[in-house]
Subunit: 348 residues, 4 copies
């Protein structure tokens, strides 16, 4: 994999805090990301998998939370995350109409690793989030298979491609080619360095509304759409800071700030949804003790996460826009790259 | 289809209000229910389909609401119902691990009827709810296919079987064989007769906890389980009373009262979830006007729906228990029928 | 204070679990309750104070949660409890129109103990809950003063009166005299004994709907009302089991089961609201560390709290009904005592 | 009252849509605003009253909704607004510790106009929202009296002062003097002109974070605070567009976009809360019919409200900042005016 072009290569950074060494969700130790990209005929779609930790997620469930900025979306798994505050499978991202297939793939994946599911123990709650790539992709083809989901899971690694890859293959943002982007920040607490990272599946924003961190409005090379803000954006958030699920929900809610800074107003037809987890608090499926111990953040320090949460959401979207190559898809539909629209002097 | 045995045939009725002519969710005009039942080898599962009205649901969306009594569940479709207050597909019920397959079947069903989905117009939000039938069914087999879901949809009619059929084939309740049950009440408003109806997929309750309307505690013929309350119950509610989505949510919340009367305390491992719709308020997908008119209930009269909501939930569960035949399933697991456990003199 | 008559003196107990030594919310170590009762002319009202622990609540905030069963209510303080998962003042109960006065009293009480409030540190979130005692009390008189609230706070002790006292002075339940009741259960976890206790301000239920634990329906001596279910019920829950705020919310939600067993269906006009706290998890206002440690319950054991939560809600209401003396109030309005309506052979 | 200085006088406007003739919440016909300002010794506080319509609000309740952006706040009245989707009193804004007093004032005000409250009919749900003005105001003095609240109510009119007046007297924003600001937009639907208006009580934002619509960062003349983002902001939203309560909630949620554009990230200690109402849908307290008719917006057109909602929130805050005079308060604490910090050529 060649070194991807990133937002910072084009001088686009958000806020004053320091990114992690990869400036990626995988700066949170243990997090891995994999893609399966489908490009053939009118198909421009795929699957992206996020593994919160390398162990058995069903046995060792990360504390998690969801936040719905605007609920025009078709995700699966949220009812149980709200009730129990944990996830127990990898997170899959895909196109809107492939959620069912990816959920089934996660079920089979969980059974393979835990043959007692649905027999001696409970069932499993697959978590799949989605955006509508129907502009560039023939979404009616339901091109994603369970095998594709499995390949995305298998390919997960700490280094991963950004841009028009995986679930991001057919996505659009502010009239440009969108897709997968990521960013992270270092956070010092009591002398220890932690990370907060985000990965976005970016597919939102009206053409003409994009605003760069320096205030520049960048119009797409395509004519400004008279269509409403559609699409969606999924923000997956990881941290190694110990948070309880309520704190995590407060943190990921600030992803909406990042979207607003970019020029979005969380349009009616946009499923803007955040899901976060911490690797530092886990719930054991087979816990033997009645009482357990967990760490949490001193709530008075939570602004230390709120501000970078806005920053990494904003920067991860720009990262997707910069990384994504111009793409022609279904019926000759075309999305240009932001790279070709901004004045630039790439720094590397 | 022979006339099914019903709860009232065994003297089990709840509350003092009058049921509709079928004592069924289909007393709400236009509502239809279909089943596909799978019984082979260790498979005891299926699909149940509820059609809110006979027209194109995507074009003519019933106002709807969801309420989570206890969120240990894996339903799909709730994020958008919460945001927009409508459903736009039939409702499918199935086993926990088949939600993905049924969601995909609903997607294809919607595309067939609306070829502009994901192209010229938005995508579609499939609604699938589930219970875990893993005690009687080899749930790991993922036996439900998209074709099975389609057959359930096709077989929908105003008269339908109750008991161990469709999604209810492998379900258990209070140590007895559970499954599909239904009940309804007539409600007079301003001189017009309306209906409130419920259909349950009943799979909850600890053995030994069941309490009949007359106060009798009925122990299962099987030994009292030391296992926690597991399973789940799905309550689908229909009415032809015009309600807005907030009112509908208030109404279906009272399903929890019916469960409590039966002896349940909404156990940790039980996904107790209600979904309601009204056929009297619909949102047109292609609405041309900017302002629309809708009717609603005078909120001061809403107790007229709260009380029967509790009654029909309670009675629909008893209906499932009375209708369900004793069943042997996976690995010889057996569930007796409530019919064989209570003193009885069937009335018909 | 003479030994109060309790529900168990009349053979009314709920469930099979063992109560604490007082069968009271004060079986949770450190919890104290005080009353100020106002009976003069047409005034039948008062204030009840619950102190979660004897220390400075603003400096040492108990983890807390609220749950709204039916939100026809005027409580104050819930927005912040939902956001932060703690309370930081005592809890006051009073009549609906006196919430403002009691909130101001709590503010002054907090400032007295914490002179830095609103100056060097944040403000304070008073928590006041209410029911409408307008049938027996001249509620328009706004008879409760800040001094009354302070007296309730000062009188708090581990032993307290139940029945028609404090905020319960003018309340009604199922056509009988209602008021303050309490109950508790012992819960063994990992070899240690804990407690779950509830105190109710009971003012709900239609005349004729009350159902005793043995199934008997007890009609009020007054004619059955044709009025809708009005009033309200407040359920305050305490425990010394370490729970996080999400778990606490799950537990107190089961208070609705107890209400349903009593014959209620959570009527439209009834503000049915639960607030819970644990003394075993506290958040320090002046916490110095960035990361803190908290204990929580193994979620798989939470049914051990769900079942007693239903039991103590049910029994606390019966406790209020048995303890309350028959009362004549405003305009000669009368409420009989349940004691005089049931067949009885008091056990003590 | 002299013509107030407004944000647009300093070239500060947000978005491209046309404001109403007053550029004020009172462009929504029938809405009136009044203030009582308290300036004496160390007291810098007050009350602001918003009257949704000139009639009897208890008898004719506007459909309403609340949205909590960040719940570090002490408002009263939200539980019932969430349940029933209406307000039934004027809205009062004041300092954090005076909520109780203002709630009591609203109760008495409602009883005066409706002598059946708490006797022949239900009680009343006062709605009071607040910010912490403790930096400039001696908030511990609890200086606001019921009479002050009544005076604010009595002084309500379609033209009202902005800046350091009423509840805004002692507020701060981004290190500048904050207070009351307002803005509105015209919205054409089906050939009819409607309005969406906001009034803010602005008291949020860290010094140094303010960003003007043209991208300029304006640092306060005071040194940048190392203190966390504190304070709060209340956004009251009015419209004459018929919306149901769910739609209204969706609309007012976009106020968070406006805050983000200004440079805020919804800090931990900031109670950022929105309350909206429509004058075009009302619920009659004494409704006789069982079924009522209400108009609503075609949901597909709701972006026509989302975008101006962000704009008017942003502009109303700037309006407060421009209108507010520099203020010295408690202990000599000083807040400069934004007017004195920006390059300017006032347009009028």
């Amino acid at each position: 994999m060649s070194k991807p072009v990133r937002a910072r290569d084009f001088g686009l950074s958000c806020g004053n805090l320091q990114p992690g060494s990869r400036n990626s969700i995988c700066d949170v130790p243990g997090v891995q990301v994999g893609h399966k990209t489908l490009v053939t005929g009118d198909i421009r779609t795929g699957v992206t998998a996020i593994l919160p930790h390398p162990g058995n997620l069903y046995r060792d469930k990360p504390v998690a939370a969801v936040h719905v900025i605007n609920g025009f979306g078709k995700s699966i798994g949220f009812v149980q995350v709200e009730e129990l505050g944990v996830i127990e499978t990898p997170i899959l991202l895909t196109n809107t109409l492939s959620v069912g297939t990816c959920a089934t793939a996660l079920v089979r994946h969980a059974i393979t690793g835990n043959p007692d599911i649905g027999r001696e123990t409970a069932t499993v709650n697959p978590v799949v989030l989605e955006c509508n790539d129907g502009w560039l992709n023939d979404i009616q083809a339901l091109a994603v298979s369970e095998d594709d989901a499995r390949e995305a899971l298998k390919s997960a690694a700490p280094d991963f491609a950004v841009g028009a890859v995986g679930a991001g293959c057919g996505m659009s943002t502010f009239g440009f080619k969108g897709g997968i982007g990521t960013s992270s920040r270092r956070i010092m607490l009591d002398g220890t360095e932690f990370h907060l990272g985000a990965l976005v599946l970016s597919n939102f924003g009206r053409s003409g509304d994009l605003r760069l961190p320096d205030g520049r409005v960048v119009e797409s090379l395509t004519p400004i759409s008279t269509h409403p803000e559609k699409g969606s954006i999924i923000i997956v958030v990881a941290t190694d800071i110990p948070l309880n699920d309520r704190q995590l929900k407060r943190v990921i809610r600030r992803s909406g700030v990042g979207l607003a800074r970019l020029g979005a107003f969380w349009g009616h037809g946009s499923g803007d949804i955040a899901l976060g987890f911490t690797t530092a608090n886990r719930v054991r499926h087979d816990e033997g003790a009645s009482l357990i111990s967990q760490r949490a953040l001193n709530e008075n320090r939570i602004d230390a996460l709120f501000e970078p949460m806005a920053d990494i959401t904003q920067e991860a979207v720009l990262d997707a826009l910069i990384a994504a190559d111009p793409t022609t898809g279904r019926d000759g539909h075309f999305r240009p790259s932001l790279r070709d629209a901004i004045d630039r002097s790439p720094l590397s």
